[in-house]
């Protein structure tokens, strides 16, 4: 990139100019993949942004851009924020990975934080959440509560994060209910309410009385509500408008503590490139209120599991576990390493069907 030196020079010139003007104000930028009104993924990131404003008041200025497509448009949006004097930029979708790293190389003085990716640089951190911990709790409740022994799962795309979620939920459902069967529909979308509603309906019609979802709209909740004897879990957001039934609990993405901590680090000058993968313990993954639709003993077990994970005493992927083809994966007591989990591309033993390739 020969553009580098040119842009860097310009950026530095500008950096000097703005820092002279507004010495105490830290500017934090956010790049969103969807509209803030999606009620799920982007909505929660924006709540994190508002929390940053709340925490620092006048000392911080936040800017954002929503519905930024991945690819060339992302590069431009990120560059633009850096040019306009942002000190810290959060790029909140996996598809922004290469764009973030590319732009970061041109603005060495700006700090970048990329969500759910794996490429770091001296001024690029990555962060993600261990959603599979929440899935373990879901799986436990689902296994206990299903009467048809069929659990429907609306998956988005066959990527490691989603596969991890299916495995984690399945392991914990199977542990409390050996007869349980998972039916997975790959919706090939993160967000398409009509399609999600159809998928949920199809699963319910085939006997599922628990619906787990890895897509972001509340459409499956509504479908379950219509069907009456079906329970669901909120995804990304609490979806509490469907509590106490069908939504009996939820996984909540809580980015606020991380965003506040990282902004603070930039203010203090203590920011360093890190690779963060936080879970229930750090508060990045939250378990939404378990409603009274869940029997008290099941609720107590679920909360105990949550506490064990929060205390670091229990890992959802603890052996003995086998892969779907029957080969050994984890020995008795062995815990999966983060590398395998990050790139997970196989089902565990007992799940039916193939992962689309």
């Amino acid at each position: 990139m020969k553009l580098t030196s040119f842009l860097t020079g310009a950026a530095m010139a500008l950096g000097l100019a703005t820092s002279a003007l507004a010495q105490d104000i830290t500017k934090v930028g956010f790049i969103y993949v969807g509209p803030i009104g999606d009620g799920g993924w982007t909505y929660e990131h924006d709540k994190g942004r508002l929390a940053v404003e709340e925490a620092f008041g006048d000392k911080v200025e936040t800017v954002y851009q929503e519905s930024v497509p991945e690819g060339a448009d992302a590069s431009r949006a990120i560059t633009q924020m850096a040019l306009q004097g942002a000190d810290l930029i959060f790029t909140t979708s996996f598809g922004y990975m290469d764009a973030t790293v590319g732009v970061a190389s041109k603005f060495p003085d700006v700090k970048f934080e990329h969500a759910t990716g794996y490429k770091t640089a001296p001024n690029v951190s990555v962060y993600s959440a261990r959603f599979y911990e929440g899935r373990a709790v879901q799986g436990h409740i689902a296994g206990k509560m299903t009467e048809t022994n069929i659990i429907g799962y609306i998956a988005s795309f066959p990527i490691p994060e989603v596969i991890r979620g299916i495995n984690s939920a399945y392991i914990h459902a199977k542990r409390v209910n050996p007869d349980v069967q998972f039916k997975v529909i790959w919706a090939y979308t993160w967000f398409n309410p009509a399609k999600e509603a159809d998928a949920a309906t199809a699963l319910i019609e085939q006997g599922a009385d628990v619906i787990l979802q890895h897509t972001d709209s509340t459409a499956p909740q509504a479908a379950a509500e219509k069907a009456e004897n079906v329970i669901t879990f909120g995804q990304a957001s609490d979806m509490s408008e469907y509590a106490p039934h069908p939504r009996v609990s939820s996984i909540i993405d809580n980015w606020a503590p991380y965003y506040i901590a990282r902004t603070q680090a930039v203010m203090d000058g203590s920011w360093e490139s890190v690779n963060t993968w936080d879970g229930i313990r750090e508060g990045m993954v939250g378990i939404g209120e378990i409603t009274d639709a869940v029997p008290a003993d099941v609720k107590a077990e679920a909360l105990a599991m949550k506490d064990a994970m929060a205390a670091g005493e229990y890992h959802p992927f603890t052996g003995p576990l086998k892969k779907q083809d029957g080969s050994d994966w984890l020995a008795e007591g062995e815990v999966a390493d983060d590398g395998t989990l990050a790139g997970m591309n196989f089902y565990v033993e007992g799940l039916e069907g193939d992962i689309p390739q």
């Binding site: 991945e70 690819g71 924020m81 040019l83 598809g95 290469d98 990527i159 090939y188 790139g343 689309p356």
Partner: protein, 360 residues
């Protein structure tokens, strides 16, 4: 009361004045809207139209206009040929996707070999891919009389599924830890559609867009095929008497627009976007339809319309992040600009007269 009277010839002066008029009206109405939403209208309008061109960071935004405008222009030029002849390819988005897939596939097949021949082969593959995808509606139309609007549109959804399949399967980066998405061409010099002059935004796709504009201009004004296209659009019966063979024309128009859309996809994936991904396509194929009509289906008009669309995109993005305007407000503003551009075109082709009351 007002009465419209058709001009014998489209007015030359109005042809040039109407776009300006439309922009001015949009600024006024849009400004009123923004001030209703609690923004300073002057500041918003300046951010959208002025800052990308002459603002503090124009050195970065001006090249970006080429990057954003080139695929729009390239696709719109191809579409305009068919539109002139009454052949409706609505599925350029699909051809764009397939061109990107085939172009990228050829490039990735050679990875990590370095050779000057790879990029030209990718260009060829991209054009062929788009062409082949457009041949499906073309052949169905010529063989069975199937409506090309529907087939080309449906094939967009099919192409999107193929794209997801490729990003998750065959073209997935083997070093990507199982994440979706192909290797990045920006890190593969032989397959990278790099800027020809650094910092200028000029990549090969921009060059191709300019060539396409010139080529289309010559074709339409100097070549018998261009004459046939225009004749078929204006007077289909006369065209048949003049010896135009509809089948060949359909194959040519759909093929050309498909190949250009495929090229646009290939240049995008190997350059600015860098990789095949699930959400690689961002609607250039649909926006290009608007660009084609805004440019009055004229090559030079399309060039200008493409750049104007790019300007509003980039200016809109700046307004979003600097002024905190929601993306929806920008989208609405763009819609308004299009409405006014289309509406004022009336003045080019018609005269507005005050008619006597009894005549009505």
């Amino acid at each position: 009361m007002l009465k419209l009277e058709k001009r014998p010839q489209p007015s030359r002066s109005w042809t040039y004045l109407t776009p300006l008029l439309a922009v001015v009206i949009t600024m006024i109405v849009g400004g009123a809207l923004f001030s209703l939403m609690g923004n300073n209208p002057v500041e918003v309008i300046r951010t959208i139209f002025w800052d990308p061109l002459f603002g503090e960071f124009a050195f970065y935004y001006r090249p970006q206009m080429l990057v954003k405008g080139a695929p729009l222009i390239l696709i719109a030029i191809g579409l305009s040929l068919g539109f002139r002849a009454g052949i409706w390819n609505i599925g350029a988005e699909g051809q764009y996707i397939i061109g990107a897939i085939t172009g990228a596939a050829v490039g990735l097949a050679f990875y990590p070999m370095e050779s000057w021949i790879i990029f030209p082969l990718m260009v060829l593959a991209g054009a062929l891919g788009g062409w082949a995808w457009a041949m499906i509606p073309a052949i169905l139309k010529t063989r069975f009389g199937t409506n090309e609007i529907l087939v080309s549109l449906m094939l967009v959804y099919v192409a999107e599924q193929l794209l997801a399949k490729m990003a998750l399967g065959a073209l997935k980066n083997p070093d990507g830890f199982g994440f979706p998405g192909s290797r990045n061409f920006q890190q593969y010099p032989s397959g990278h559609n790099a800027e020809i002059i650094a910092g200028s935004g000029m990549h090969w796709g921009v060059v191709a867009a300019f060539i396409a504009v010139i080529f289309a201009y010559v074709l339409l004004n100097r070549h018998i095929l261009g004459y046939h296209i225009r004749l078929t659009g204006q007077a289909p019966r006369a065209a048949r008497f003049a010896g135009v063979r509809p089948t060949r024309l359909i194959l040519f128009c759909l093929g050309a627009s498909g190949a250009l859309a495929g090229l646009a996809g290939m240049f995008e994936v190997s350059g600015p976007a860098g990789q095949i991904n699930i959400d690689f396509n961002v609607g250039y194929g649909f926006t290009a339809i608007i660009v084609a009509f805004l440019g009055r289906l004229h090559p030079v008009g399309i060039l200008l319309a493409g750049l104007l669309m790019a300007l509003t995109y980039i200016g809109g993005e700046i307004a979003q992040s600097n002024l905190g305007l929601p993306a929806a407000a920008i989208q609405m503003f763009q819609g308004m600009l299009l409405f006014f551009l289309l509406a004022v075109d009336l003045l080019t082709n018609y005269r507005i007269r005050l008619a006597k009351a009894e005549a009505a």
